[in-house]
Symmetry: C2
Subunit: 245 residues, 2 copies
């Protein structure tokens, strides 16, 4: 929350008054060529208008017209491990921050690193995502854009999270399994194929493709900037609609 | 995030100008008793000062002086079941909202209602509070005051949560067990005594008294308003210190 100190308001009023009165006196002098008159008008104006300016500021402070609050969004990136979710979402979060929004980035790997006991069975994944959804909803409600990237493989979990948010935008990063497996940045597909890790999405646990996502991104033949720009376009469309008057 | 529309700025500038110019013309007329002169000065002033006012606003918009951001706090109420945590914290949260702050209230019962699988063993409680602490830290980081009321019986858990927040304020609601048990608003002490529920704090699970809380509240012989006011005093002291310049 930003708040202006009293000294700022007072000094601002005075600085405007000095500037305004010099202009008024100059005008009177130009019209009349009388120094005494222009100085007298200026002196009276100086005193009377400081109060008038203050009253005007207070009245406008109470008027709601033209003051808008941007309603934030929850941008939920879903897709296979290695699909490019984190990379695109990081790019998007940085751009939104540069636009002056409050942005919180939630990433599956980061959150699981802090809560290492979170498992990978269906109920554990669901409970985990529900907790993340709760967090996302609270942040959104308090004016924060949430950029979340989670494999979130089950339609049911994504629907649960959607219901916990007000402005939920599901972004499906639709990179084919073969390509994710080729990339295998974290070496997880190899481990899953060798049976060293279990319940790995795409290998021995299903990825339920989103049925009606707000946006589908492909990452083959499209750069991070190109994919991310599509998200930003959607944000700009949705925030224009979502203005609270 | 609040943003002023261009139309608001323009209409505000014009409304000030109309007001200001009427005052100037009136002043010139009072000094000279010449209608034509006062109207001419007014007309020139009207045109020239709209631009001047705008420039003045833009310059001040770039000046950081006197513009302060309030750093929020995490107000963490700890104490036995039935100690009065929720009641006092609700009162405090309402007051803070009325002061214009963004406030999120997190209550043990509410959160457990949404996540019914959260258990009551020591590791489960600890993991639960760690998740709440993560949420609180994220909210605080994004400018939101957090008012949390959780039994949070273990010193270790409270220290973990403290470390996850920037401005953590531990408020110990120190109501004796006998009194909590007499009140027994939710009928839980009865159930715990009859062995119908396990790991109940104060009965068959320990409450580790805070060793260095920021505030200790008693609820016997003190009203909710009296206890809550002490919290508000602390908030006002801490936010004055915590201003980011």
């Amino acid at each position: 929350m930003f708040r202006e100190t009293h000294s700022r308001s007072v000094i601002k009023a005075i600085s405007w008054r000095v500037l305004g009165t010099i202009a008024t006196s100059a005008l009177v002098f130009i019209f009349t060529r009388r120094w005494a008159l222009s100085l007298a008008v200026g002196a009276f104006e100086f005193v009377s208008k400081i109060g008038l300016f203050w009253v005007h500021e207070r009245v406008w402070d109470r008027l709601h017209f033209g003051r808008e609050e941007i309603k934030p969004l929850v941008l939920w990136f879903t897709g296979l491990s290695g699909s490019g979710k984190s990379t695109i979402s990081r790019w998007v979060a940085d751009r939104l921050r540069a636009q002056g929004y409050r942005v919180e980035q939630l990433d599956g790997d980061t959150v699981r690193h802090i809560f290492p006991n979170t498992g990978f069975t269906r109920p554990e994944r669901h409970e985990h995502l529900k907790r993340v959804g709760y967090l996302a909803g609270k942040l959104e409600k308090n004016g924060v854009f949430v950029v979340a990237s989670f494999v979130s493989p089950y339609e049911e979990s994504r629907q649960t999270v959607r219901a916990m948010c007000e402005n939920f935008v599901e972004i499906f990063v639709d990179t084919p399994l073969e390509i994710c497996e080729q990339r295998d940045v974290k070496g997880l597909y190899g481990k899953a194929r060798r049976g060293e890790i279990r319940n790995f999405t795409g290998i021995d646990d299903p990825y339920e493709r989103p049925t009606s996502p707000e946006l589908v991104l492909t990452t083959t033949g499209q750069s991070v900037e190109e994919a991310g720009s599509k998200v930003l376009e959607l944000v700009s469309r949705r925030t224009r609609q979502g203005i609270m008057n």
